[in-house]
């Protein structure tokens, strides 16, 4: 935590300065909030029914909850498939068979470089044109496939670096008891690598959940799509978008918490170092909570 050592424990003058900075900071934050609220007021965004209509049964039962359900469906399918894709191509990059390694490398590097939205739009229109799927499921297929190819490639890299991150002794020990390369990979290295990478994996799930909102652009009726629909039908677009954003923030924040928890639980079960990707952020939040 070098951040904490950048400065000494403040003396009397330092404490006074800090109070001044705190007050100035608070004034700036409050000032911005007031400006925003004034603008809200000028344009009628503070009218009560624009907000209360977000908390009606119609808003939740017909729009937000079905939208949230579809978001979770798309995210869950993408998570499962990208795990599968990641393990297959991650191992592909580690195999001793050269052509397989090259192909895996090309696939992974290619799908990491192409924007998710480009893939989503192409799959959406492409499958619509090719008539491969039922038209009602084409948007879902496009969303899941695009998210799988991109995040699966990222996970493949995680698998690879997870295996590389293991102490050499693990591989050597496996070789010493007569395991072949692939057997050592499968039975010794991959299981430990998977555990070590679980926190990074969960933070990749946050990316999947966030990117599933792109589905609204290809008419997949997920949370953002449904809240836009509700907002435009009820003249409270801004409020609908704010509620949708809050739901996403809450979901992702819970996932991040999970990553932290998992990292703490699992560090004893692998030879590789385990740390939550956001360990610093999380620790600071916890410190704040205790204080």
């Amino acid at each position: 935590m070098s951040a904490q050592v950048l400065f000494d424990a403040p003396g009397p003058k330092g404490r006074r300065n800090m109070v001044i900075v705190n007050i100035v900071g608070a004034i700036v934050v409050i000032g911005i909030a007031v400006l925003v609220l004034i603008r809200f007021g000028q344009t009628g965004q503070l009218e009560a029914d624009r907000w209360t209509s977000m908390f009606t049964a119609n808003a939740w039962m017909n729009f937000l909850i079905p939208g949230l359900r579809n978001t979770l469906i798309a995210a869950a399918l993408s998570i499962v498939f990208s795990m599968l894709f990641g393990i297959v191509f991650g191992l592909g990059r580690l195999t001793t068979i050269a052509p397989l390694r090259w192909i895996s490398g090309i696939v992974v590097e290619f799908f990491r470089a192409v924007p998710v939205l480009i893939m989503m739009v192409a799959f959406w229109l492409g499958f619509g044109y090719a008539q491969t799927f039922d038209p009602n499921t084409v948007p879902l297929v496009a969303v899941v496939l695009a998210l799988t190819l991109y995040n699966g490639s990222v996970i493949a890299e995680l698998v690879r670096s997870g295996v590389f991150g293991l102490p050499k002794g693990q591989r050597e020990a496996a070789a010493a008891i007569g395991m072949t390369h692939s057997k050592s990979l499968r039975l010794v290295e991959l299981p430990q690598a998977l555990i070590a990478m679980l926190p990074s994996l969960v933070s990749q799930f946050v990316v999947i959940l966030k990117d599933s909102a792109l589905g609204s652009w290809v008419t997949y009726n997920e949370l953002l799509f449904m809240s836009r629909l509700y907002g435009s039908g009820n003249g409270n677009m801004l409020q609908a978008l704010i509620v949708a954003a809050l739901i996403f923030i809450l979901l992702n924040w819970m996932l991040t918490k999970l990553a932290d928890y998992v990292a703490k639980r699992l560090s004893s079960r692998t030879a590789a170092p385990v740390h939550a990707p956001d360990a610093d952020v999380q620790e600071e939040i916890e410190e704040k909570a205790k204080a």
Binding site: T43, N58, M61, N62, P66, N70, I73, L77, V80, F81, M83, L84, L125, G128, Y129, Q131, T132, F133, D134, P135, N136, T137, V138, P139, L140, L190, P191, Q192, L194, I195, S216, W217, T219, Y220, N221, R228, L229, G231, S232, G233, N234, G235, M237, R269
Partner: protein, 295 residues
């Protein structure tokens, strides 16, 4: 170590199951698309049955208030009303109708592959489309027009849009037509849906929204928009809304009979007025109710 292996096996098994579910999904889409776990639309709960010959699959828009609009498991709008009427004449109760989302770009595909039996989705009859699918009807003649704020009298037609701001959806032909034929200096913003256009029209960031007049009227007639907007009533194109059916279908005559009966009985008029209530919109009387063009 044993625990780990069990976990991995479980993950693999789950993935395999999902894969299996997905591949069956793709292989028999044409026979049974309503019952799959993946289906996102609401009708899977409604039909429940074996997906046999008891139901009729009708393509409509899901996102166009006043024409075809999905609100939970309810479907409302003029297209929905007409479709329900026609289906009833063909011997299907409303419970036997399975609504399918038919976005503009996919309508021909849906018909050609037999994934829907009919389409009522603001589907203009054009020569190009007529070559690949059949049309019954038309059941309505719309025209591209403008929607403006109710207190705005400065816009009476597309020529007045020079120097003004216009909203349309991505890929719309009517916005292009205005820019090319009527008002070069119009500023155009594209949105994902017409409803989004209406919110920026209300706030004053754009001065007009353009598309077919009945779509505009439908938007203006939603409860939240009542009294805020008006349709200019100066249409600059003619769009014959047909009922799309697969090429060579034998249903055309029966559908046209149903449409004629609907117009004669006055139901057509009550469908129009119910879905455009409060907007002062009336269909172009020279062309409506439409003359059927025969099969």
């Amino acid at each position: 170590m044993r625990n780990t292996r069990v976990t991995i096996a479980a993950v693999a098994a789950a993935a395999a199951l999902t894969l299996a579910a997905c591949s069956s999904d793709s292989s028999d889409t044409d026979t049974d698309a309503g019952g799959d776990a993946d289906t996102t639309s609401e009708e899977s709960e409604d039909t429940g049955g074996e997906g046999g010959g008891d139901t009729i699959r009708i393509g409509i828009k899901f996102d166009q208030p006043g024409l075809g609009y999905q609100e939970g498991s309810e479907y409302t709008g003029f297209d929905v009303d007409v479709a329900t009427y026609v289906a009833e004449s063909l011997g299907y109760t409303p419970d036997q109708i399975e609504w399918v989302s038919a976005p503009s770009a996919q309508r021909e595909n849906l018909l050609q592959t037999g994934q829907v039996d009919m389409i009522f989705a603001t589907y203009s009859i054009t020569d190009d489309r007529d070559e690949v699918v059949d049309f019954a009807g038309p059941y309505y003649v719309a025209g591209q027009d403008l929607l403006v704020r109710a207190d705005d009298d400065s816009i009476t037609g597309p020529e007045d849009l020079n120097g003004k701001n216009l909203c349309s959806v991505t890929g719309s032909t009517s916005a292009e037509r205005i820019k090319e034929d009527y008002a070069e200096d119009v500023q155009l913003v594209e949105q994902a849906g017409y409803a989004d256009c209406v919110t920026v029209l209300e706030s004053g960031q754009v001065d007009a929204v353009t598309t077919d007049d009945i779509i505009l009227a439908g938007l203006a007639a939603t409860p939240a928009n009542q009294g805020k907007f008006k349709v200019v009533g100066n249409p600059f194109s003619e769009e014959n809304y047909g009922i799309g059916i697969p090429e060579g279908s034998d249903q055309c005559e029966a559908i046209n009979e149903a449409v004629t009966a609907m117009i004669d009985s006055g139901d057509w008029e009550s469908f129009v007025s119910a879905n455009t209530e409060g907007t002062g919109y009336t269909p172009n009387a020279d062309l409506n109710p439409p003359t059927l063009r025969g099969c």
